[in-house]
C-alpha cells in the first residue's frame, strides 16, 4: 500500500481493500490507519483535557492563598477546569467531523482546539500576573 499519508492529506477515503462501504451514497469508510490515527488524536486531546482539569484543581486546592486576594486561586483554577471540559467535548466533535470528511474524500477540516488552548492559556497567564500584582500591592 503506497503513500497513505498523501491520500489522507487529500481527504483520506480510499477504495482499497481496507475501505468498507458505508451504505450511504458516495461515502466510503476510510483506510483503517487514518481512522486509528484520528482516534489517537482524539485520545491525545483528552489526555490534555485531563491535565488541564488536574492543573486547575491543583491550583485551587494545593496553592497557598494569595495574601489580600481570597478569590485568586479560583480565578486561576476554575477556567482551567472548564477548559478541560471544553477541550474534551470539542475533541469529540472534531473527531466526528474529521471522520465524516474522510468518508466523503473531502479535505480534513482545520482544528479549532489549538486556538482555544492558546487563547485561554494566554488569558490565564495574564490573569496570573494581575493576581500576583494585586496580591503584592495589598
Amino acid at each position: 500500500m503506497g503513500a497513505p499519508g498523501h491520500r489522507a492529506a487529500r481527504g483520506g477515503a480510499t477504495s482499497n481493500s481496507d475501505g468498507q462501504r458505508n451504505g450511504v451514497s458516495g461515502e466510503v469508510e476510510p483506510d483503517v490507519r487514518f481512522t486509528l490515527a484520528n482516534e489517537r488524536t482524539f485520545l491525545a486531546w483528552n489526555r490534555t483535557a485531563l491535565a488541564l482539569v488536574v492543573a486547575g484543581l491543583g491550583i485551587v486546592q494545593l496553592l497557598p492563598p494569595f495574601p489580600g486576594v481570597p478569590w485568586g486561586r479560583h480565578v486561576l483554577g476554575v477556567p482551567l477546569i472548564v477548559l478541560g471540559a471544553v477541550v474534551s467535548v470539542t475533541a469529540y466533535l472534531e473527531w466526528r467531523r474529521t471522520q465524516a470528511a474522510m468518508r466523503r474524500s473531502e479535505p480534513i477540516p482545520q482544528s479549532v482546539l489549538p486556538r482555544i488552548l492558546v487563547a485561554t492559556i494566554t488569558g490565564i497567564a495574564a490573569l496570573s500576573a494581575v493576581v500576583l500584582l494585586v496580591s503584592a500591592a495589598r
Binding site: A3, E29, R40, L57, G84, A85
Partner: protein, 118 residues
C-alpha cells in the same frame, strides 16, 4: 542484473526510509492506538489518585473510570463498526467531562472552597 541497492548508496549505508514511517510497519497502527488508550486510562488513574487525598469520594469515582477506559482500549479493532467506535469515544468524553464537573464541585465545595469573597 538489476542493482540490489539504489544508486548513490554505498555498501553498508542505511536503506532509504519511506515518506510515512507507518509504511515501515503498517500493522502497528492498532497497537499504537491500544497504547494510546492505555495512556489515557493511566491519566484517569493519576487524576483519581491525585484527588483521593483531599476528595476521597470523587477520587474513587475517577479511579473507577480508569479500568473502564483500559477495557475499552482492549477492543481496538480495525474492523470495528463506525457506530461502536463513536460510542466508545463518546464514553471517554463523558468521562473527562464528568471528572471536570467533579473537580468544579471539589473546587467550590471541597477543601479549596467555599469561595469567600470579601
Amino acid at each position: 542484473m538489476p542493482p540490489d541497492r539504489p544508486e548513490g548508496h554505498p555498501a553498508g549505508a542505511a536503506p532509504e526510509l519511506p515518506d510515512d514511517p507507518e509504511d515501515l510497519a503498517p500493522g502497528t497502527a492498532a497497537e499504537r492506538t491500544r497504547l494510546a488508550w492505555e495512556r489515557t486510562a493511566i491519566g484517569f488513574g493519576a487524576v483519581g489518585l491525585a484527588m483521593l487525598r483531599r476528595e476521597p469520594v470523587a477520587g474513587l469515582l475517577v479511579l473507577a473510570v480508569a479500568p473502564l477506559i483500559w477495557a475499552l482500549g482492549r477492543y481496538v479493532s480495525a474492523r470495528a463498526r463506525p457506530e461502536a467506535r463513536s460510542r466508545r469515544l463518546l464514553l471517554v468524553t463523558v468521562g473527562v467531562t464528568g471528572v471536570a464537573v467533579l473537580a468544579l464541585i471539589a473546587a467550590f465545595l471541597g477543601h479549596g472552597g467555599p469561595v469567600r469573597l470579601r
